[in-house]
Amino acid sequence: MLSLAIRRRLPGFELDVTWEAEERVVALFGPSGAGKTLTLLCLAGLSRPDAGRIVVNDRVFFDTAAGVDVRTQARGLGYVFQGYALFPHLDVADNVGFGLRGRPRAERRRRTGEVLERLGLTELAGRRPRELSGGQQQRVALGRALAVDPALLLLDEPLSALDQPLREALRDDLRAVLDEWRIPAVVVTHDFTEAYRLADRIVVYEGGRVIQSAPRASLLWQPASRAVARVVGLRNVLQGTVLKATSERIQFRWRGQTLEAVNSPTHSYLPATDAPLAFFIRPEYVRLIRKDRTSADATHHMNRMAGHIVREADFGTTWTLYIRLDEPGEPAQGDFDLEVEVPHLVYEILEIERDRRWEFSIHRGSIHVLPSA
């Protein structure tokens, strides 16, 4: 259980964030320079907020109103720094045991051995950090932080120092370690997949503010705003005009089309007629209508449109088609209206390489309305 409300002003930047989490693993996600690392430093007491309150597991670490500011050393948190910040002059065992000073020598050795063992580092105990691979360094940094039994583990871009293939392998590995040690954690990352794979709750940062804090699935399917959709990397974020909104459905106009979307039951959003409406369509949920099949019925294909492919891109297992509608006027996204993603096999079967004009449909449940704040 974690609750945080802090303000910190720096030259040219202001952090002003409030969020809470019941979940065990929380990701702070957003572009670089959004204030994620600064939040972590404030949590650890390595940076002092100008005002605010930080509570971790019912322990008040910081509270300007009550004049509380617990020293870093007394907060009992584990911190894995970006780039790991291992002590270069100490070997792996001494790095891991660094926080155990003050305990009896025998216990120190026992605990260090146990942590090395659990993280599979026993054979590297005598090595210096510079002799380790990136993945091994990450393990040592984790071990050093975990050795002191922290109440909360803070991880700043724990995977960014690694190459892509290794990064994906270690991402799931890291989550396994967090689960195995059953330790609450806050992970900072600018990679959405990473945030999604590692955390139960995602707090989205932009420009020193929190633009959404939600369980990971609801963030993906119900981003709170266009800003969140953009930061999360959603494609086909578009804007139409409301025709009619009920708690069930929203009818709207977009690029000369009348479309219908499901109104999310959790966010009963009722914009007025003629109000602008933001929505997004996942490129992989647009269905091309096969020409070799006879007249598809209306319930099967709703929100029908037609257009032609202006560009395409081969991503190996999938193709992305950039489609421009058969409508006069400016396309919605530069030279095209919609991005459509089809599997490679579909691309071949439908002979899309030759055939450039397509009709397609979008199920109303696949048009996601973005309530504007």
Binding site: L46, G99, R101
Partner: protein, 200 residues
């Protein structure tokens, strides 16, 4: 030793803390390098003389400073501390602050962090600064002369002795002492240089 004890904390403070008057302190530390030794010696004499504030303080404790071996030590220290402080400051500043922050999150006190992280990592520049300061102290002439005089067997340092011999036209003694000075410092520097290349 005195220089180390006073110089290291000073260097750490200059490297890690931001406080009003920091620039003034930093400038004051370098002053002994820039001022003519005689000026420095004169001010030091004013301070530690029997009527100076520090001199009187020590007189109250029954310790005389001016024109004793203690004054010679002090003179050597004041003249050389800047070299140590600047080198050590640069050394401390070169230590990644995240390492110190990491140590802090692991529950270590500032004092323990200095000995376990900062000093071991800044070891080389601190060591180099110490060697430079030591050499400067050995070679000091002007400050020592001003505050400690040149009393044979008491406050007469090697450079002063050589000067006296040359003045008295005793060239053989001057030759011998100069050779000893050059030889011992050369040996010292070579030995220290080898030590500094060791990894630990």
């Amino acid at each position: 030793m005195l220089t180390l004890a006073a110089g290291l904390p000073l260097a750490w403070v200059l490297a890690r803390r931001r406080f009003p008057g920091r620039e003034v302190l930093e400038a004051a530390v370098v002053l002994p390098l820039v001022l003519p030794p005689t000026v420095l010696g004169y001010y030091l004499l004013v301070l530690i003389g029997t009527r100076g504030p520090i001199g009187r303080l020590f007189e109250g404790l029954g310790i005389e400073l001016a024109f004793t071996w203690r004054a010679a030590v002090l003179a050597a220290g004041v003249g050389s501390i800047a070299l140590l402080v600047k080198a050590a400051q640069a050394g401390f500043e070169s230590v990644d602050q995240r390492l110190e922050q990491a140590a802090r999150t692991l529950g270590r006190s500032e004092w323990s962090i200095f000995w376990a992280v900062t000093l071991p990592l800044a070891w080389r520049p601190v060591f180099a600064g110490t060697v430079l300061a030591f050499c400067r102290a050995l070679g000091d002439f002007g400050i020592t002369l001003m505050v400690a005089g040149s009393i044979p067997g008491v406050t007469q340092t090697m450079p002063l002795a050589i000067y006296d011999h040359v003045q008295a036209n005793q060239m053989r003694e001057a030759d011998l002492l100069s050779l000893v000075a050059v030889g011992s410092v050369l040996l010292l520097l070579m030995g220290l240089g080898r030590l500094a290349r060791l990894r630990f």
